[in-house]
């Protein structure tokens, strides 16, 4: 029988509070659902429909020769599946929890209600664990159904098989895992919404460049594996910076 890690009582109580507050925040719900829906479903599905349907873009793709990541990609839908889709999956996996973190962490800090929490018998670690877990749950609850839509469309409209879908799912899950470290870093560094947005940008731009390089240089499904590992490394690095260098004390100082 699989034993799940034991969650402490303070974290459980705070997690319920965070989820309740998230569901009551119209702004959080709107940004938490709308942006992921655009990134994860609207953009990729429109691309696949264009490639499969009567679009002028239909047919053979003209790709630069000698680029390892592009080798063997002759059709437009393959170009989307192997070049642009990984970008969407990484963006969706990283951005959705980061957006949720902006709401759960920054609003608490800006209105100084964090003082109420710290006065209760909980540690700063409990507070941040509950917030990060809430962000992750919200992101997973948003992204996974959206991914199921993607997977269905991919299986119906393209030649990509179950292996592609599995590889893409691993990438989304790794991006979600990486978001734990990034959300924690965001919680410790950002004191207001502007800083939080700047920090999100700070992570997104290099991540996109890294993803772009990866899809250009790594062939076939290997790019999903390499990207997944890079996501875990990025998340691990962010987590280490947050816990070892910044420390939880920073949340209150």
């Amino acid at each position: 029988m699989i034993r799940l890690p034991r969650v402490s009582k303070p974290v459980r109580v705070l997690l319920r509070k965070e989820l309740r507050q998230f569901l009551r925040s119209r702004n959080a719900l709107l940004t938490g659902l709308l942006l992921p829906a655009l990134i994860m479903v609207v953009a990729p599905v429109v691309q696949l429909l264009a490639a499969a349907g009567g679009s002028a873009m239909r047919g053979q793709a003209t790709l630069p020769a000698g680029v390892p990541g592009m080798a063997g990609l002759t059709r437009l839908d393959e170009l989307f599946l192997y070049v642009t889709f990984p970008l969407f999956f990484v963006l969706g996996g990283l951005m959705t929890p980061a957006l949720a973190a902006t709401h759960t962490v920054i609003s608490e800090r800006e209105r100084r209600s964090i003082e109420l929490l710290v006065a209760l018998p909980v540690s700063v670690k409990d507070i941040l664990t509950a917030k990060t877990a809430a962000n992750l749950l919200v992101a997973a609850a948003t992204l996974l159904p959206l991914f199921v839509i993607d997977a269905t469309v991919v299986l119906l409209l393209t030649h990509a098989g179950v292996l592609y879908v599995m590889a893409a799912l691993v990438l989304v899950l790794c991006a979600l895992t990486a978001s734990i470290g990034i959300s924690l870093l965001l919680a410790l560094v950002a004191r207001d919404f502007r800083t939080a947005n700047n920090l999100n940008g700070f992570f997104v731009v290099p991540t996109m460049i890294m993803t772009g390089l990866c899809v250009t240089l790594v062939p076939g499904l290997w790019r999903f594996l390499v990207l997944s590992l890079l996501m875990l490394a990025l998340g691990g690095l962010a987590y280490l910076i947050a816990v070892r260098w910044l420390t939880f004390e920073r949340y209150l100082t």
Binding site: K9, P10, V13, L14, K17, R20, Q21, R24, S25, E110, R111, R112, S113, I114, E115, L116, V118, A119, L120, P121, V122, S123, V124, E249, R250, L252, T253
Partner: protein, 299 residues
């Protein structure tokens, strides 16, 4: 659970932040079980850092701090924390949680029910109101109720009336008087009248160091005490007859004479003034106020 004589203790505690600022410098103080102590000091003296360390939110850079006999970074701290209620300084209020929901969270964390605290602070009719929509006085009641929900033996109050209007402050003081009885209390405040009214012991911090610690009455006695004198002939006539008794100061139509023991000196001074033909209508021994003790300590 073994009773502890010292409820709170800072032993050679230094707190240095990452930017190099030293908030506490080798600070040692303690609060005896059952005492009501105020922690005073100007801004930046280290009061809030001390409370943060006791909350477990900050760790000392050196030295050790104890809460109910348990080191704040030790394994027994979490249990000690469940026996401690904390009222934070001017917290922000949730716009998306009602008073009931917040008190339920507090009660769940302490492992008890919120009903007694709700009744004690008269919150029954306001439970469905969101915290941010309550008046300042009721918001503070909710915060007090959360701190006292588990009937803690130790209460840490960080500026409990800051930002409240006089009526709400008075109301909170009434609650505090009731709640502080039979508990160990550390009151961190800028309001000297509040400290004087609610506490028996005092610790004064300045620039991260303890400059005064002791019983309030002892400190008053140790500080310069005075006799307040008034005569129909006016203050200048009184001053003229007080030569040799001690330093004097005119305060309106009164004269303040500094003496070591006002109660013992009063008959001698009074006799001298009456012998000089002055119609004395006031001769009152005055102990130094906490404000005077404080100003003398912090300069």
């Amino acid at each position: 659970m073994q009773p502890v004589a010292t409820a709170l203790a800072f032993r050679s505690v230094t707190k240095r932040f990452r930017n190099g600022r030293v908030a506490l410098a080798d600070v040692t103080w303690s609060v005896a079980r059952g005492s009501r102590t105020c922690l005073l000091g100007p801004n930046g003296a280290g009061k809030s850092t001390s409370i943060r360390i006791l909350e477990g939110a900050l760790r000392p850079s050196a030295g050790s701090a104890e809460l109910l006999g348990e080191p704040v970074d030790g394994p027994g701290y979490a249990a000690a924390r469940l026996r401690t209620g904390i009222v934070p300084q001017g917290p922000g209020m949730y716009t998306d949680l009602t008073a009931r929901e917040f008190l339920r969270i507090a009660a769940d964390l302490y492992g008890c029910r919120p009903d007694r605290a709700i009744e004690a602070f008269g919150l029954r009719d306001h439970l469905r109101t969101r915290l941010a929509e309550l008046s300042g006085g009721f918001q503070r009641r909710v915060v007090l109720a959360a701190a006292l929900v588990a009937e803690p033996e130790l209460l840490l109050l960080d500026e409990p009336t800051v930002g409240l209007d006089p009526k709400a402050s008075h109301e909170v003081h009434e609650y505090l008087r009731q709640m502080m009885a039979s508990r160990t209390v550390l009151l961190c405040t800028h309001n000297l009248a509040e400290a004087e009214a609610l506490c028996d012991d005092v610790i004064i911090l300045r620039e991260g160091r303890v400059v005064v610690q002791g019983r309030l009455n002892d400190l008053r006695r140790g500080a310069r005490s005075r006799l307040r004198l008034a005569a129909h002939q006016g203050p200048q006539a009184v001053v003229a007859r007080l030569n040799g008794f001690g330093p004097v100061r005119v305060d309106g139509d009164r004269v303040l004479l500094e003496v070591a023991d006002p109660e013992r000196e009063a008959p001698r001074v009074l006799r001298a003034l009456m012998d000089a033909g002055l119609d004395v209508y006031e001769c009152t021994p005055q102990q130094a106020s906490l404000e005077e003790v404080f100003l003398e300590a912090v300069g």
